[in-house]
């Protein structure tokens, strides 16, 4: 973990982020193969006593990076349902853009399949299994933190 922190601090381009990176960490970043629109899942840990907020992200592999939330929709005849019913599979899904993500003090936020994810829009070239790339995340307090995302084969 110390090594990860050191790596994150080293990768951060802004000098101010080096100190902040010790209390907010981004780990386990991974992606799926993608053609034009990709995804990054990751885990954010905030060891600070104050809440932080993820406000922006960039990556050299895509024109835009946004945060999106997938949620289940139950739909028929033009009506959509946001709530889920026990024991029934999700029948449909939709995504909504999330402008920023609150990272509670002392908390962990996981970006995972079917939930929050970073969306890579306009990939400059396809993400193929085995490749890795850098993603930079900007936090309101901690500043910029870099992470490497691994494209997982299936």
């Amino acid at each position: 973990m110390i090594r990860t922190l050191g790596l994150l601090a080293g990768l951060s381009l802004l000098p101010a982020a080096a100190t902040a990176a010790q209390t907010v960490t981004v780990s386990d970043a991974w992606s799926r193969p993608a053609l034009d629109t990709g995804v990054v899942y990751l885990t954010i840990r905030n060891r600070e006593a104050v809440a932080d907020r993820l406000v922006d992200a960039t990556s050299g592999v895509a024109r835009h990076v946004e945060f999106h939330q997938t949620s289940a929709v139950r739909e028929t005849g033009g009506m959509a349902m946001g709530s889920s019913m026990a024991g029934m599979p999700d029948m449909a899904t939709e995504m909504r853009r999330v402008r920023s993500v609150a990272i509670p003090a002392g908390g962990t936020v996981a970006f995972a399949p079917g939930g929050l994810h970073a969306m890579l829009i306009g990939l400059r070239r396809p993400l193929t299994a085995g490749r890795s790339f850098e993603l930079r995340l900007r936090f309101a307090h901690a500043g910029w933190i870099a992470a490497r995302s691994q494209v997982r084969g299936i």
Partner: protein, 211 residues
């Protein structure tokens, strides 16, 4: 005697309260309507199970016609609907299905994974070919004209809706059905799985389908 200004303030407070009650009532009624709608949709889906899967022909990633009934006696089929610009649900479904298939006997040779687009405007055969190859080139990617796709969506209760995404650089996103239709070698729809099923759960369902 209550000053007019105060009375006005009291009334101003009372009015939103009434609105709030009405709003809650409407909200509750909407929830009930949606619950019924959701239940009807689930029943419609479940009624498909056990029936012969509706046959159809669409265009595959090589630009050739692909017909479901041609798989009869040759392969079981795991059919689902999505689009290549979908970052989360569709690649997860593809990844889980291809992983689960590998756990089957003979590497899942008896099973065809079929990905039919709900976004034919962007998903041409050439795009689909490049997309499925990122996961597994044996996956069949299907597209077609609106005339060709519409009856397929209807037969499989596929709901999809392009969402104008004004605040996103993604252009538009497509909300869509996430069911996986499991069709056996005899062309019968045996079960409906879901994209959120784990690889293990899917593997069990695929094993039952191909056994």
């Amino acid at each position: 005697m209550v000053p007019t200004s105060l009375r006005r303030r009291v009334n101003a407070r009372a009015a939103p309260f009434t609105f709030r009650i009405t709003g809650r009532l409407i909200g509750a009624l909407c929830c009930v309507a949606l619950l019924i709608a959701g239940a009807l949709f689930a029943i419609a889906q479940l009624r498909l199970v056990g029936t012969a899967a509706t046959d159809f022909t669409l265009t595959d990633q090589d630009g050739k016609p692909w017909t479901l009934s041609h798989e009869r006696g040759r392969h079981a089929v795991a059919l689902f609907f999505g689009y290549t610009h979908c970052p989360d649900v569709c690649p997860t479904t593809l990844a889980h299905l291809t992983q689960a298939r590998r756990a089957l006997a003979a590497g899942g040779r008896d099973l065809r994974i079929v990905f039919a687009t709900v976004d034919a405007a962007r998903d041409t055969p050439a795009v689909l070919k490049r997309y499925v190859a990122l996961f597994d080139p044996t996956v069949v990617g299907l597209t077609g004209t609106p005339e060709a796709t519409r009856p397929v969506y209807a037969a499989y209760n596929v709901w999809h809706q392009a969402l104008p995404h004004g605040d996103s650089a993604a252009g538009y996103l497509v909300a869509h059905s996430s069911a996986i239709y499991l069709i056996d070698r005899n062309g019968r729809l045996r079960a409906i799985a879901d994209w959120s099923d784990s690889t293990e759960k899917l593997a069990t369902k695929l094993r039952e389908l191909t056994s």
